[in-house]
């Protein structure tokens, strides 16, 4: 069961409309290393995760990723909400407008729709935790590339926060991997 809380994890502000930035940012909504991928990856891996601590961690990080999905959605929404069709067309969002108007959609920066092929579940705790660590590092790098693409201080503030969250997630997953490997090693000795 999930309970919705009617608030964002952090305040989200933009200094000016920026359609091009919205086009880039949408990849963290529906792209391969985005927040939808992250939430669905972790929440789905829980059922076959044998380690108790890792199971709890997948639940809790997966839930925070859903909160980040809403942060990204709010950023994109605020960047595009006042745009005209002409402005969207000029910013390379004409094809998005044709299919979705200003609705958000789960696509990457090139407009390619989200697919389950972006995520993995091997059922092996070491394979899955390695996948999760790699996913966090890819998300961290994506946030850095997005920061490099804007000069809006308000947008940079939100993206920097999200980048740092990926660093924390990666660290916790590394600790979970260490615990699982330790357990496997002691099993072999005794």
């Amino acid at each position: 069961m999930w309970i919705y809380e009617k608030k964002l994890e952090i305040p989200v502000r933009v200094s000016k409309p920026d359609l091009q930035m919205a086009k880039f940012l949408i990849t963290q909504y529906g792209g391969p290393d985005g927040e939808l991928s992250a939430a669905l990856r972790y929440l789905n891996q829980r059922y076959s995760m044998p380690n108790e601590r890792a199971k709890a961690l997948l639940t809790d990080i997966g839930t925070e990723e859903l909160g980040h999905l809403e942060v990204i959605a709010t950023l994109v929404h605020k960047l595009v909400k006042d745009a005209t069709p002409e402005q969207m067309r000029a910013a390379g969002l004409g094809s998005h407008y044709a299919d979705h108007d200003k609705a958000l959609f789960y696509v990457d920066a090139n407009g390619v729709p989200w697919t389950a092929a972006y995520i993995q579940a091997k059922g092996d705790p070491i394979a899955d935790l390695c996948e999760d660590i790699a996913a966090e590092e890819k998300a961290r790098a994506t946030y850095q590339w997005l920061i490099n693409l804007t000069d809006d201080p308000d947008v940079i503030q939100v993206l920097t926060y999200l980048r740092e969250r990926e660093v924390v997630h990666s660290q916790r997953f590394r600790e979970a991997l260490y615990i699982v490997e330790e357990f496997n090693n002691t099993k072999r000795i005794f």
């Binding site: 608030k7 964002l8 305040p11 605020k78």
Partner: protein, 84 residues
């Protein structure tokens, strides 16, 4: 809709709790962290109550009470509509 000080404080406390939650998942035997978690959890409930009296229910499905005279869930602003 203006961003309120109570909401800012709520976000700060909840952030601390998210961090402690992950930490405790990995270190469930750390009693000092459990104590911190419960302390912040008390603070969170206090702040939520304070926020909801002024700005309406934060959570659905009975996890928040509604004001008696109106179903405020449909009329209070959504997170993406707030001017922070």
């Amino acid at each position: 809709m203006e961003y309120s000080d109570t909401l800012r404080r709520l976000q700060e406390v909840e952030f601390g709790l998210v961090e402690l939650q992950f930490y405790l998942d990995i270190n469930p035997e750390d009693q000092r962290a459990i104590h911190q978690y419960n302390y912040l959890s008390d603070e969170l409930h206090r702040l939520k109550h304070q926020y909801e009296l002024k700005h309406g229910p934060l959570m659905q499905y009975g996890f928040s009470q509604s004001p008696a005279n109106q179903w405020a869930w449909v009329s209070t602003p959504w997170p993406w509509e707030i001017e922070y």
